[in-house]
């Protein structure tokens, strides 16, 4: 079966999730990945949305972080202060998802402004839950389509801290969580170097070349010595994902998922 790079990205993200994970799910690609994992190899995975819904099993993807579907199909729904206090800050989340307008080579993320903060060229939506998701989940996965505009040498603004300026910067500011251990794009998978913490490509999606990755990245890309190739999507993965997206589009009255 043929597939798009977007589908590859969602499926690659789904695969790294397990039955035991407790995921803090964002809207968009993370929501696709988490629910795909739940509907395929990880039926026991726990999904949490920051609106307060814990252990939710939506039949279709929510458009917003607080769609009715999330609450009616949740194990329970708690207040938003409780969500951020007991569940996120309390260290109960194993995997958080992040994305944004810009990512740099130390996996810092900008979702606030393009240009200066005081006089922005583009005012982006902002961090929302991200600054503390980046801090308190045992680890975070970044899911972002890759381009020279979005994968930049240095972000204009650090909304969510990754590895800062690299090395032990994360530990030095008091963070004990692992940080962004994995970046999943439409072209490849990247992981931080254990020492420098600079992102390096560990797997290329099928058919993608090193040159293509470099062409879509705003810094000189490092590739792991044991670089591998991502397994292509299986038919089952594609069918489940497409069914999910079709159900969602029909329900929302648009192709907005």
């Amino acid at each position: 079966m043929s597939y798009t790079t977007q589908e590859m990205m969602a499926i690659a993200a789904a695969r790294v999730l397990t039955n035991e994970d407790v995921c803090f799910v964002g809207i968009g690609a993370p929501s696709q990945a988490c629910n795909l994992a739940r509907l395929t190899h990880a039926p026991g995975i726990t999904l949490i949305y920051e609106s307060g819904t814990i252990g939710t099993k939506p039949d279709l993807l929510p458009l917003s972080i607080g769609d009715p579907e999330l609450c009616t199909r949740a194990r329970c729904t708690v207040s938003v202060p409780e969500m951020f206090q007991y569940w996120l800050q309390g260290g109960r989340i194993s995997v958080g998802f992040l994305g944004g307008a810009q990512l740099d080579k130390f996996a810092n993320i900008n979702s606030s402004v393009v240009g200066s903060y005081a006089r922005p060229k583009v005012r982006l939506p902002g961090g929302g839950g991200a600054p503390e998701i980046a801090a308190h989940c045992r680890q975070t996965y970044v899911v972002m389509a890759q381009s020279r505009r979005s994968f930049v040498d240095r972000v204009d603004f650090v909304t969510s801290f990754g590895y800062g300026e690299g090395g032990d910067h994360r530990e030095r500011i008091g963070l004990r969580s692992l940080g962004p251990t994995l970046v999943i794009t439409d072209l490849c998978m990247m992981r931080p170097d254990p020492t420098s913490r600079e992102l390096s490509v560990v797997a290329l999606h099928p058919g993608v070349t090193r040159e293509q990755v470099q062409a879509h990245t705003g810094w000189a890309v490092r590739f792991a010595p044991d670089l591998t190739t991502t397994e292509p999507p299986t038919e089952h993965e594609l069918i489940v994902l497409r069914d999910l997206l079709a159900r969602t589009a029909q329900a929302h009255g648009s192709a907005s998922a």
């Binding site: 609106s51 972080i65 009715p68 206090q85 600054p131 603004f157």
Partner: protein, 272 residues
């Protein structure tokens, strides 16, 4: 006991120019009808706070009601930007807007602190974020036991909280169910609270002893506004109009179509 008033009177009696107002509801139960009435009454210079400004604040901002916005995520959920917010920030149209930007954790904690009568909230947050240097209301304290630095933000204490809820009884007790967001916190943090409800019933029929209830002595004003959260939703009453949220992107992208839409659907509409 709260006063029961029609929406028009309730808003006229509650909202004055220059006030600090929080209209909350985390995706769920957003008080759209009350927001539209504020626009119709032409209020100005409001300081608005809300974790997720959503379409209702985009409309208030685009109609020139707002001087300052305190927020933590200003987008159209799952769709993209809030174009009227962006136009105000990027081009000062229809008037410049001052931003005070936080993270969700900060605002949730700040409402919690407001409800709890504390001057500030402390939490583990803002690690390495550039928001720190850009917002003077993000500071740090040292834990007197561990020595650990902890982020601090001032408590949020709006002049007025406006929330939508499923129902009230005749005494004015209010039931909120489903995604309860920061609804209880904002009502308890505010000096006054205006609650719009789907209906007034003889018996609240709270399903659990632990249901989320606002006792009547915490509510200032109640207005009965069926559908008052549309196009957001009221759990157990009606669903979210996701197609409208998607359509808002093109309605709001340019100034003229936005103004035409507001003229037709808000300014020219009879109050609920």
């Amino acid at each position: 006991m709260p006063r029961f008033l029609p929406l028009t009177t309730a808003v006229a009696a509650s909202v004055q120019d220059g006030m600090t107002v929080a209209m909350e509801g985390f995706t769920h139960l957003i008080p759209f009808a009350a927001g539209h009435e504020i626009i119709r009454q032409g209020r100005r210079d409001l300081t608005l706070m809300r974790m997720t400004p959503d379409l209702i604040y985009d409309q208030l901002i685009g109609m020139g009601c707002v001087r300052k916005l305190i927020f933590s995520w200003g987008g159209n959920p799952g769709v993209g930007s809030l174009h009227r917010l962006r136009d105000a920030v990027e081009h000062g149209w229809p008037r410049p807007i001052e931003l005070e930007e936080h993270s969700h954790a900060a605002m949730a904690n700040a409402y919690h602190a407001g409800a709890a009568g504390l001057p500030c909230a402390i939490f583990k947050g803002y690690y390495g974020s550039d928001l720190v240097g850009n917002n003077p209301n993000i500071r740090f304290v040292t834990c007197p036991f561990s020595g650990e630095p902890l982020a601090a933000v001032p408590a949020l204490r709006p002049d007025l909280a406006i929330v939508h809820a499923q129902r009230a009884d005749h005494e004015g007790n209010v039931l909120i169910e489903g995604i309860v967001g920061v609804q209880k916190e904002v009502v308890l943090a505010a000096r006054q609270a205006l609650v719009t409800v789907e209906e007034v019933v003889d018996d609240l029929s709270a399903p659990s002893p632990n249901s989320c209830i606002l006792p009547h002595w915490t509510v200032t004003t109640i207005a009965v506004v069926p559908g008052g959260a549309y196009p957001s939703y009221a759990h157990g009453y009606y669903g979210r109009d996701n197609a409208f949220y998607t359509a808002w992107d093109s309605i709001s992208r340019e100034r003229a179509p936005f103004q035409a839409w507001m003229e037709q659907h808000v300014l020219g509409a009879a109050p609920s």
